[in-house]
Point group: C2
Chain length 248, copies 2
DNA sequence: GAATGTCAGATTGTCGGACAATCTTACATC
DNA sequence: GATGTAAGATTGTCCGACAATCTGACATTC
């Protein structure tokens, strides 16, 4: 309620629609620390399970302990880290059950978005097209697997945006964040992202043809495939970790 | 991922299934402060828009400012309060757009739950029945409107539990929390909750008959009615506030 | 008279230090 | 082998302090 504590402020006092494109960074230190931690987690610099010590992070980042604490609390509510009372927070470790749940949940949200396609606002439909174009463009440009993941997940978020519901989009973004964590942990080993640009183009084609049931069925298959791929990679990663453990 | 920082811990070290029913309150001071604030908000003690000053709350609750800050951060992430940079946090004020979004979003989640009825686990189905029974029981017992709201919303959460997805349930609980806030603000004026026990019984009957499409259609109507009722009450409340403002 | 500059008060954002409570680990004891 | 004890580390909570920022009132300038 009373949403939008966002940056851009359209103040009614300033009459002319001037001063567009001017923005000031209103981010707090806590936000920047949280951003840095997220980046490190997504980039695989922080392996899953790694403890995030408050004092160490504070001195390392040049901020105070309360600031780090607040940032860690953010990560915890986002599901990127877990807090065990009196034991501190550590990077969350994706387990198969979590991945399965993530995929089931996002199927519900993305399916809702696809169903809304006919009634969706033109702007939302256009956003689906542009995010897909950005994805395929990145694929053709031979972008790194991290950027490909970004673009890929952005497309799936844009599907939920078809519902026009900010809260559903927020929920999807939360799911995608956790998924990104899982992917980051997986891709520390297999440093590649599937090229699924064609697959997604096919999905969009079905939508453009107003074939909603077809798009739904397509989405079900696509997400099932994705789930299977992630689980397989996760399994492979667990095996390697186990063999590394016994070898030691 | 690696969920459950919950209270009950099933430790594999203790062999006999003894010590059941023994629990220790592991809640932190922050949690208790947050609980108290939620209660005050839901009970209408704190009107929407009321600023939540850190120092005042700290001295009033007998805790330190950092503790209050952390609790307020929790409320903000839950959507029960909003933080404006350098201006502090205040109780969120439900506006019509938010209510519409909440209803649209929960329709997606609850509809997903209803669709899952045939494949849902027996325990989940049983939970729907028990929460409905608790609701109707409370209605017959002439419970207060607060308890009725609790039971009513619990039923709608139980519908999402049919999906078997913890994350979807968490999302629904978040939506319901915001809805509770809106209802609390509305009911400061009209201190009554609709008796919708019969309506919900009808929904369950459709499910028991495995008439999923019927249940879906029923749910759409029911949620549309609920949305309309809340919006009307909200409108009425806004009018009273306006007239009170001009009268002063 | 409207826009702008300035100041004081209030509140938050961030910091540093401090201490108690708790967990872990290792060691000692029965 | 189970239990008790001590040390070290880490978190949970608190206090005090200061800078940054917002608000509002007042003075200034054109």
């Amino acid at each position: 309620m009373t949403a939008s504590r966002t940056s851009t402020q359209d103040d009614p006092r300033v009459d002319p629609p001037l001063y567009a494109g001017l923005t000031v960074d209103h981010s707090s230190t806590v936000d920047r620390v949280a951003d840095e931690l997220r980046r490190a987690v997504f980039d695989g610099e922080l392996e899953s399970g790694t403890p995030l010590r408050e004092v160490a992070l504070a001195s390392s980042l040049g901020v105070s302990r309360p600031t780090v604490r607040e940032a860690l609390a953010l990560l915890v509510t986002e599901g990127l880290a877990v807090r065990e009372p009196h034991r501190g927070v550590s990077v969350a470790s994706p387990d198969p059950d979590s991945v399965r749940d993530l995929c089931r949940a996002r199927l519900v949200l993305e399916d809702a978005g696809v169903r809304h396609w006919p009634q969706a606002e033109a702007a939302a439909r256009e956003r689906v097209r542009t995010t897909l174009a950005a994805y395929t463009g990145a694929v053709r440009a031979g972008a790194g697997y991290r950027e490909l993941n970004e673009r890929h997940l952005a497309f799936h978020v844009s599907l939920v945006e078809l519902t026009g519901s900010p809260r559903l989009v927020a929920a999807q973004e939360s799911l995608v964040r956790e998924l990104r964590l899982a992917l980051a942990q997986v891709e520390r080993i297999r440093r590649n992202a599937h090229d699924q640009a064609d697959t997604h183009a096919e999905l969009l084609a079905l939508l453009e043809a107003d074939d909603v049931p077809g798009a739904q069925a397509f989405l079900v298959r696509h997400l099932a495939d994705a789930e299977e791929a992630i689980l397989a990679a996760l399994d492979l990663r667990a095996e390697e970790a186990a063999s590394a453990g016994t070898a030691r």
